[in-house]
Amino acid sequence: MPDPNENALRAATIAVLVENEPGILARVVGLFSGRGYNIESLTVASVDAERRLSRITIVTTGTEMVIEQIKAQLDRLVPVHKVSDLTLEGPHLVRELALIKVIGTGDDRVEALRLADAFRARVVDATTESFVFEMTGNADKIDAFCALMQPIGLAEVSRTGAVAIARGGRTLAR
């Protein structure tokens, strides 16, 4: 039976627990480029030194069939311990960290600080003509902040991409 929704796109935040070994990131990235999957963001860091585990968070979009493929393809990589579709599995937190440089003088500086306060962005560096703000939040919040800063001197942005974790007692234990 043709499913009317089968071509509908959805976003997925996927957490992957992997061996912390050389080449693992290349395997994951190569999988996405080789099979033509979309990556919106990808973050990786070691999370358990003793058990040599790293955690990768991938944000992607695709049809349900493609997302299922992505998960199955990730899961069959030899150094992958666990693949979890946080979007599908229930409430979860997504955070991103951004460092945002704003250059300006006079009233623009005052306005920048006021907006930063409203968005709970912290000043982590300041000179007479620049600020660097640090903020965390979901991607939409950072996007909104950057958009507001645009006319008052947004100069440079560095973002981590999303990290995510399930709410409540659920874990990604292998």
Partner: protein, 600 residues
Amino acid sequence: MSAATQHADPAALTMSGAEVVLRALKEQGVEVIFGYPGGAVLPIYDAIFQQNAIRHILVRHEQAAVHAAEGYARSTGKVGCVLVTSGPGATNAVTGLVDALMDSIPVVCLTGQVPTHLIGNDAFQEADTTGITRPATKHNYLVKKSSDLARVVHEAFRVARTGRPGPVVIDLPKDILINKAPYTEAPPEDQPHRSYRPQTEPDMGQIRKAVALLKAAKRPVIYSGGGVINAGPHASELLRQFVHMTGFPCTNTLMGLGAFPASDPMFLGMLGMHGTYEANLAMHGCDVMLNIGARFDDRVTGKLSHFSPDSKKIHADIDPSSINKNVKVEVPIVGDAGRVLAALIAAWKDDATQPDKEALAGWWRQIDGWRAKDCLRYTQKGSIIKPQHAVKRLYEITRELGRETFITTEVGQHQMWAAQYFGFEKPNRWMTSGGLGTMGYGLPAAMGVQIAHPDALVIDIAGEASILMNIQEMGTLAQYRLPVKVFILNNEYMGMVRQWQELLHGGRYSESYSAALPDFVKLAESFHAVGLRATSADDLDRVIREMIAVDKPVIADIAVDQKENCFPMIPSGAAHNEMILGPDQEGNAALVTDEGKVLV
């Protein structure tokens, strides 16, 4: 802590890394390595020289080493083993690795590497082998510590052999091979790997769902692929049992030929682009489809949106990523094909529902109607040898002689004719490059088969274009006295290319003529083999019999009809019920849309 570190007491280290590698290979049951030496792997070659347990077969090109290991693996069910040097040795092996990846063939390929302190320096014969082979393998390793060596070799064999089998590369820097290294034995089979745990046992709930669907089917079909072959001969035996128990028709993919006996009346022949009319129409018209160990490849499905539109589909595969990749199915089952079949047989017996015998009888009547089209019919008259006739006679004569026979092929029209006209009764007798479609596969694969089965009759059914892609391996046949028979269907064209140009590109035969061919008889003789030639239909049987009788490698150059095309055919972008049955229907190809033309 791993066993490797426990043994790392330097005083206990008596073996070089190369010796550790060989000992690990021996423990893994390796009897033969196909390889080619070079600077970076000299320590392993030195260790090979000083032992007798493992035999080394010197190929003439590294691609052939991998295909030979594939032939060895496919005909025995064991892991094939390859040894090549760094840089060009490794890059030459890449085609073979991708071939093994696409066809799920277990191969472990050891590649030499420059010493660890030179990695990244663009040293002589350095290549980023793990980088290059990452998408060409199931998994790969770069060994940077002597203490990892034995563990990695053992793990590589486990990864290659288990789950969905595939090629694994171990990149070995020269200093790691020379330095002393600790040896550790392979962990017990039941000790789980840290992260790699393929699911082999099917979920019984899914099995019961599948059986319920199958029992209620009115027009069922069983479609099996290479997964059944990979699951071992027992799985093929179970497939036969299940088909007979259910009374359902059975078709095999190109990779799955031999899993179900070709002579069995319940066999519909191969399906897909050059499959039989009855197999493809049964797939198109069925109401329940059971796919075991096949992957809904585009060569099988034709136009996806029109593929088997009215059926409920059950798909059993050991690789979860194969399920719902191309075709959405109602009942997915993850597991080893043999275990799935055993579970299906048990559940079929347990389920008291009676299948709809009347509907099934009607379905068989319909199938017999399609069979009556006799879609593989051809006419051999006059002296020009029809290629189909050449394969058919080869089949009939080998059958009459009753010798254990293994067939390999190259890629193209001859490959499809071999699949259509050579009947396989048992698994592991048919070696062909299905997924990657690698011209030059057949001769080296036949070498590997002959090494594993010294007394068997091993025939590479070839085309005159493909065979030239690895013709240098005639030297290997001579060196090891391997009596492989190369049966060339010589139509002086890259026949499948010419066929597509005829059907889709207005007969403009751009670069598909095999110009300046060698004299294959003299070529055979120059490689210490026997050369034979058949130019007329009257010569054919004599040449086939002589080829088989000679206890030496033979090239039999069979001059066949240059214009013959391979039918039946589902044109690209068409559905199963839009098959072209023969040349009189070639006009149908004009219906191929641009959308179809972009497909390969």
